[in-house]
Amino acid sequence: MKLYDLAHSRAGDKGNRLNLSLIPYDPAHYALLAAQVTAERVLALFAHRGATGCVRHDLPLLHAFNFVVEDALEGGVNGALNLDGHGKTMSFRLLSLEVDCP
């Protein structure tokens, strides 16, 4: 199934750096997401745009994750030719990821 069925997300930017929250609707799915939605998989979602790194910050008390993706915005709001230079729509690229939910 798609991550979209288990979690929600919001994208933010600072310059050429993108951040994506990932929040399971059901806290019981936190461990499943921790195991499957790795920084490597998220970085791969932005490989076509030249992203150079991704760090995942885990927030177990909030049952949420924060991904910080470097160089994912083709220059960011000022530099990019992309219509969405902020990368605001990227939360839904993350939510398109396939996950296995037993």
């Binding site: 750096r17 000022n78 030719l81």
Partner: protein
């Protein structure tokens, strides 16, 4: 208890947002303040260009429209208004407030203008180190437009202490607009990191307006939000011991729940242990949330660390142009016609020999905003939508060449594939930004307070 409202999350936000928030603050009867965040990373550069063109402008263009419906209540109920709506020209923003005050018969309204964030000279002199995130940026022949330091709450606290009813600032940090009225009301010291962390969290949660109350959240059938046409803007209720509850005005649309608060808490956040503001470093790794009532969420477990010695500076540069042109195709074989047109557009750029440093084609409907400049996603997509909008975007140091490229999309009206229509094209100046650091003692701020009548005398 102190109630703090927000009525604007960016330059371009809903101009009727302040009315229900002010009504709720007045009805609450407790001490309160209302803040407006209208200055993005690039807004200040655009405002600087505007000021250069017209010296009496360069402040937030919607300022008068935002405050006119609420200024009388702010005055009568002693609810100060604070905003970074001075943008590149806080004194002119102050005059704009004074004119509205006179229209409303409030000549005694006390207006504070906060200046000092403009550090263009220091950046122009090459004296400031570049922020590590931008170390690889080479500005080449780009020309410096503006450089502004993100100042903290102190100058605004001073303004409030002197009785300011409206504070017009320029490049403040967003959370400082929330921290200032809280420091003033509760008498928090500038090194009370635990309390300032509460203020920073309130500011961070509120600074984007409706993003806390259902905006950038609603998703029909999945995350439904009541009445998104009338989203209520957020309110924070803060107690002297650092209690924080976020909510929204009664009788408005939207919602405040654990989902909306989590999304906004992590918005534009990098390391959750160190959200750096000029006033305090906020750590949310111990934060917990509780739904304590309908549209009421308590935020607990916030920690604060000492503020940084340096302030962040955003420097903006000009030096190139963005040319954009778009046309549509629809109906049978639309995707194939769009793909072929994309290749022809790129070929035309080569034939014309235009001085283009970067070009991109989007097939809107197949793939665009998630794509890369080289069209990696649409080139590998088999999607066949019934309509596609083809967009060409180029960067050029020459305005004429950017325009010439954009007009290649227009020319598709006669030269394009069958059934091509709906052309739009434009050329706009590009602004690039680079972050620097500056020691805070090199950014002296100034506060001047006068009544509306005195300002216009």
């Amino acid at each position: 208890m102190f109630r703090l409202g927000n009525a604007s999350g960016f330059s371009g936000d809903r101009v009727d947002a302040p009315i229900p928030v002010m009504r709720d603050l007045v009805a609450g009867g407790t001490p309160a303040a209302l803040f407006f965040e209208t200055l993005g990373e690039r807004t200040v550069a655009l405002a600087q260009l505007e000021r250069r063109r017209a010296p009496a402008l360069g402040y937030e263009p919607m300022l008068e429209r935002l405050i006119r419906p609420i200024l009388r209540d702010a005055h009568d109920h002693a609810i100060p208004l604070l905003g970074n709506w001075g943008a590149a020209n806080p004194p002119a923003g102050g005059l704009a407030v004074a004119r509205v005050a006179m229209e409303l018969g409030l000549p005694g309204l006390r207006i504070a203008v906060v200046e000092g964030d403009d550090v263009t000279g220091a950046v122009a002199g090459g004296q400031l180190p570049v922020h590590e995130a931008d170390a690889g940026l080479d500005m080449g022949d780009w020309r410096l437009v503006a450089a502004n330091a993100y100042i903290g709450a102190e100058a605004m606290v001073e303004a409030l202490a002197q009785g300011a009813q409206v504070v017009v600032a320029g490049r403040t940090s967003d959370p400082a607009l929330a921290i200032a009225p809280l420091m003033h009301h509760f008498g928090w010291r500038a090194d009370d990191w635990a309390m300032l962390a509460v203020g920073a969290a309130a500011g961070h949660l509120l600074e984007c307006g409706a993003q806390l109350t259902g905006g950038v959240f609603w998703d029909p059938g999945r995350k439904d939000v009541p009445d998104p046409a009338n989203l209520g803007y957020p309110i924070a209720e803060v107690t002297a011991d650092g209690g924080l509850v976020v909510t929204k005005p009664r009788g408005t649309g939207g919602l405040v729940d654990l989902r909306t608060v989590k999304e906004q808490l992590l918005y534009e956040l990098h390391d959750p242990a160190a959200y750096v503001t000029p006033d305090v470093v906020l750590d949310i790794t111990g934060c917990t949330l509780d739904q304590v009532g309908k549209d009421r969420v308590a935020v607990r477990g916030l920690r604060g660390h000492p503020r940084p010695e340096s302030l962040k500076v955003t420097a903006s540069f000009e030096g190139s142009w963005l040319g954009e042109g778009e046309v549509s195709v629809a109906g049978p074989n639309a995707a194939a016609r769009a793909r072929a047109m994309a290749e022809v557009l790129l070929e035309r750029l080569r034939i014309r020999g235009l001085s283009i440093t970067r070009a991109r084609v989007d097939l809107i409907g197949v793939s665009s905003v998630h794509d890369a400049d080289d069209g990696a996603l649409w080139r590998s997509s088999a999607h066949e939508p019934p309509e596609v909008r083809v967009r060409l975007a180029v960067e050029s140091a020459s305005r004429d060449d950017a325009d010439g490229a954009a007009r290649e999309a227009l020319a598709m009206l006669c030269c394009g594939p069958a059934g091509t229509g709906g052309a739009r094209w434009r050329v706009t100046p590009r602004i690039l930004t680079r972050s620097h650091l500056i020691l805070r003692e090199r950014v002296p701020t100034r506060v001047s307070i006068r009544t509306a009548k005195e300002m216009l005398a």
